[in-house]
Symmetry: C2
Subunit: 312 residues, 2 copies
DNA sequence: TATCCTTACGGAATTCGTAAGCATG
DNA sequence: CATGCTTACGAATTCCGTAAGGATA
């Protein structure tokens, strides 16, 4: 048994049982992959793949039983290398962060700047995507840390930690009639066309919940995935915007006025996620603490241990 | 990275950092081991062992961090082979059971007989030892299933399951004065020299607890590790015996009389233990169910999942 | 017929054991 | 000076890629 065999099996599953493709991905020859797989099957004594004729078409029952073990073996091997690196070059390496647009654009910059100053030799990769994509990147091991407000808590293979709470604001062009209200109410908002986040992004569900609870049916005319787009349409007069308060910058958004709406919508909680079974390097913990000072290294490790369910 | 390197490291730790011994255990040459280790250290980029001059003397800090990962990697590799075997030969293989004398002698025989009838092609290994030795055998992966009344529950790396409850009995020679009491009391027992289990065996702690709670200081003249020895000394008239009720057989123990003492001593619970991260073969589950019918395969798997703590 | 897996074969790289060298308690 | 690790080297093995073969949609 060796790791190349295990990699071949894992990749074969990922590539939909096309060994030619596996060979490309693993930078080797197709007959090589074929042999790796057959050697492993011979060693464990059970076929892993279903073959119809000469093609692989799926996993056998033993194959299904083995796959999680194989994944963990390869994961642990990588973790081993990572632990070594960690001690060899505490200050060097790569940190891969997956975040939603909102986070990458508004919440992360300060943390990134401070982190870069503290660890100039760490190369920082910033992936951007929907909350589900963030989760996928984490699960695939392509990101070390994920940050999003939605969805993350529903993946059992992820450990999530609360980072910070925030609320929405309403943005309107200067002189908009909404500005005349002393205290903004949901009913006022419902009278105007609304531009806000797409379903599944940046607390959109909380916005819908609030209106639904008040028995209102707001007219969302444009739904976007990020605040910059929303603000652009608001500036064009297409409606009033509802965005995360953090996304409003008095300096930059000269043409707009923000109205605090924390009394109208439920509080949102931005979460940070890590994959179970991953090993975070020292500077990874440092980044987390920079981003959310309450999440000390100890706090993160504790959360990991407390939530160590379903491993078998 | 390959498994031989990992095995070399693990064995080096187990052999107290003597690479010559490692080479013997792994059936290879000593320079080979040397290189395996150095290659791995080169690959991960950190030294794993502390060297004073040319000798290995201990683990470095990175080494200590890596060791648990290495153990799990090798464990998973073995599990992989095991899963393969499982499907290849459902009815064949080896089942290794570690139990205390009491269990092996009195509780297991029925289960073993039935199991042998059901799986004639499975070779059954029965290790015997103190509860702590049972735990060690499990932890070292040398036993698949451990059975004992004491100690097992205190190892966080073991999952334990309750099997059955039992109580102690008093044994005396025929015509012994104790037999005159209508209802036996602890104070009666305390008037006689006592022969019972050694500390740490077969509910001895419960015996001590009961006397202590009653303010009595019984005179234990002989402490043994198993009921056969105890009964022998009782037959010789050296004292009254306190043994597990199950250990008294009216047929075999003609010279003795058993007196039920369930009202005097706390109930005992015999537990079955498995190591976390081990994979039990189908017939292993079958054995458990034969031994303790309430422990169906599902019940065992559930207990495993429920107790999946501290893994990282 | 194009795609995709298997078999066959030869060269290259790795691995491994023996023998010699050297440090340490 | 005996034990124990390293280095050196040559042989054996394993590994891997190319090329050809055969099955399937």
């Amino acid at each position: 048994m060796n790791f190349q065999q295990l990699r071949s099996v894992r990749e074969a599953v990922r590539c939909g049982f096309n060994l030619t493709e596996v060979a490309t991905v693993l930078h080797t020859s197709q007959p090589g992959i074929s042999r790796q797989i057959r050697d492993l099957e011979a060693e464990v004594g059970s076929p892993i793949f279903v073959r119809s004729g000469k093609r692989l078409t799926g996993l056998t029952e033993p194959g299904r039983a083995m796959l999680p073990l194989i994944e963990r073996l390869l994961q642990d091997a990588q973790n081993l290398r990572r632990v070594g690196e960690e001690f060899a070059h505490e200050q060097r390496g790569t940190l891969s962060i997956a975040a939603t647009h909102s986070q990458a654009r508004y919440a992360l910059p300060h943390a990134v700047r401070d982190f870069r100053a503290q660890f100039p030799e760490v190369s920082l990769h910033l992936h951007q995507g929907s909350p589900r994509q963030v989760a996928s990147l984490l699960l695939a091991g392509e990101a070390d840390i994920g940050i999003a407000t939605e969805a993350l808590a529903s993946y059992p293979q992820l450990v999530t930690l609360p980072c910070y709470r925030w609320t929405h604001s309403v943005v309107v062009p200067h002189g908009h009639p909404l500005l005349r209200h002393e205290r903004l109410e949901l009913s006022h908002l419902a009278e105007h066309p609304i531009v806000t986040y797409d379903q599944g992004y940046t607390g959109r569900s909380h916005i819908d919940d609030a209106f639904a609870a008040a028995g209102l049916r707001p007219q969302v005319v444009i739904a976007a995935m990020d605040a910059d787009v929303i603000k652009t349409y608001v500036e064009l007069g297409l409606g009033i915007g509802i965005v995360a308060s953090i996304a409003i910058d008095a300096e930059r958004d000269r043409g707009l006025v923000g109205i605090d709406a924390r009394h109208l919508f439920p509080l949102n909680l931005t979460r940070l996620a890590l994959r179970r079974g991953s090993v975070l390097r020292g500077f990874g913990f440092a980044f987390i603490e920079t981003f959310a000072p309450s999440l000390s290294r100890d706090a993160v490790v504790r959360a990991f241990l407390d939530s160590a369910h379903e491993d078998a």
